[in-house]
């Protein structure tokens, strides 16, 4: 079984309050449409670095929960970040990977090892506190509220298929202005 990404994100959005949400590539387009927030941080342009940005944010703002919505292709480019995050062990970091087995933002070509790679297994071996895998919306909906209350770092694999095609605006996403707006919002957010 798999979930539609947009449906899973809508379910997640029900539990997000004033959290920092670091979202990457196609998941980011879905997320900002589903739950607009000045504390959404979009990570594109240097594929793989979403989790590293999230670690910096988690260290800099230990008072806030940081969710990273990573992609499987992105995480494959920065697997070492799992080890770095596990060593730092930020209690406020929750790391999702949305796994669809493709580099979706670059033509949906298959990722190496698709259907065979166990991302939660990677994270568990790296030393994350708790790791979970969901492949159906009902199971995810039933547990996500409680999982978000656990101390991190937590890793959650979401086995998904794309939903309705999101509206893409890479020019907006790549620019400096959206970063400045995020920084200002973060400063206002006590």
């Amino acid at each position: 079984m798999t979930m539609r990404r947009d449906e899973a994100l809508r379910e997640l959005a029900r539990h997000v309050t004033d959290d920092i949400v670091v979202a990457v590539y196609t998941t980011a387009f879905d997320w900002i449409a589903i739950r607009p927030s000045p504390l959404n941080y979009i990570m594109t342009g240097a594929m793989g670095l979403g989790s590293s940005h999230a670690l910096g944010l988690a260290l800099g703002r230990p008072d806030k929960r940081v969710l990273v919505l990573d992609g499987d292709g992105s995480l494959l480019m920065n697997l070492g970040s799992l080890v770095t995050i596990a060593e730092v062990a930020p209690a406020n970091l929750i790391h999702f990977v949305f796994e669809n087995g493709t580099y979706e933002a670059n033509g949906s070509h298959p990722t190496p090892g698709r259907d065979g790679v166990d991302f939660s297994g990677f994270a568990r071996a790296a030393g994350y506190r708790d790791c979970y895998t969901f492949d159906d919306l009902g199971g995810f909906a039933g547990r996500i509220g409680a999982l978000l209350r656990q101390p991190g770092p937590i890793f959650i694999t979401m086995k998904i298929v794309p939903g309705a095609p999101p509206k893409l605006n890479y020019e907006y996403m790549h620019g400096a202005r959206v970063r400045q707006e995020f920084k200002a919002a973060l400063a206002r957010s006590a």
Partner: protein, 180 residues
């Protein structure tokens, strides 16, 4: 005997002391040091940094991770300095391009110039990587400075302050091998 005289003379005149560099880093308001080890800075800088109160070392697996961590911290008004070898800098060029230059973020980096010849400008080095690193940053519009001896250490704080004031990346090349 002649070697000992030479070493003593270097310590007086053209040496770079890790203690001086650490003091300058702390005076710059830096709190976090994402890092990968570099034999050029291993004993004189990284090992003492790991023991230094007031600085938090974050050992990363790849240098571009450090670029991302510095970026995240910068949004929280926390200063960080990524310590690495120049080879790691070259490996991180796309991250510096996207996160430092195009996002316009103060990514501060200190890179050891392993094999740079003492007293020789990096651009004149016999070693290809040392020779081209600064030129690549010039092409990217990234500010960089060479810290060769103790006399250059006073450049560190203004360079970091400027990076945060202008929200731009900066690279501090350690030409001299820091002494413990």
């Amino acid at each position: 005997m002649q070697v000992e005289v030479g070493a003593a003379a270097r310590s007086r005149t053209d040496a770079l002391h890790g203690r001086r560099v650490i003091d300058a880093i702390k005076a710059s308001g830096v709190e976090f040091i994402p890092c990968l080890p570099d034999i050029h800075t291993s004993e004189g800088l990284l090992r003492p940094l790991a023991r230094e109160p007031g600085l938090r070392l974050i050992r990363v697996c790849k240098e571009d991770e450090g670029v991302g961590i510095c970026a995240g911290l910068s949004y929280c008004n926390k200063r960080a300095l990524l310590l690495m070898q120049y080879t790691g800098l070259l490996d991180s060029i796309n991250a510096i391009r996207a996160v430092g230059v195009e996002y316009s973020l103060p990514i501060c980096m200190m890179a050891g110039l392993l094999n740079k010849e003492p007293g020789v400008a990096p651009g004149q080095s016999r070693h290809y990587g040392v020779r081209v690193a600064g030129s690549i940053l010039d092409a990217m519009g990234v500010a960089h400075h060479v810290i060769e001896t103790d006399a250059d250490v006073d450049r560190i704080r203004p360079a970091i302050d400027d990076a945060y004031a202008r929200q731009r990346p900066v690279v501090l090349f350690l030409g001299g091998r820091p002494l413990p």
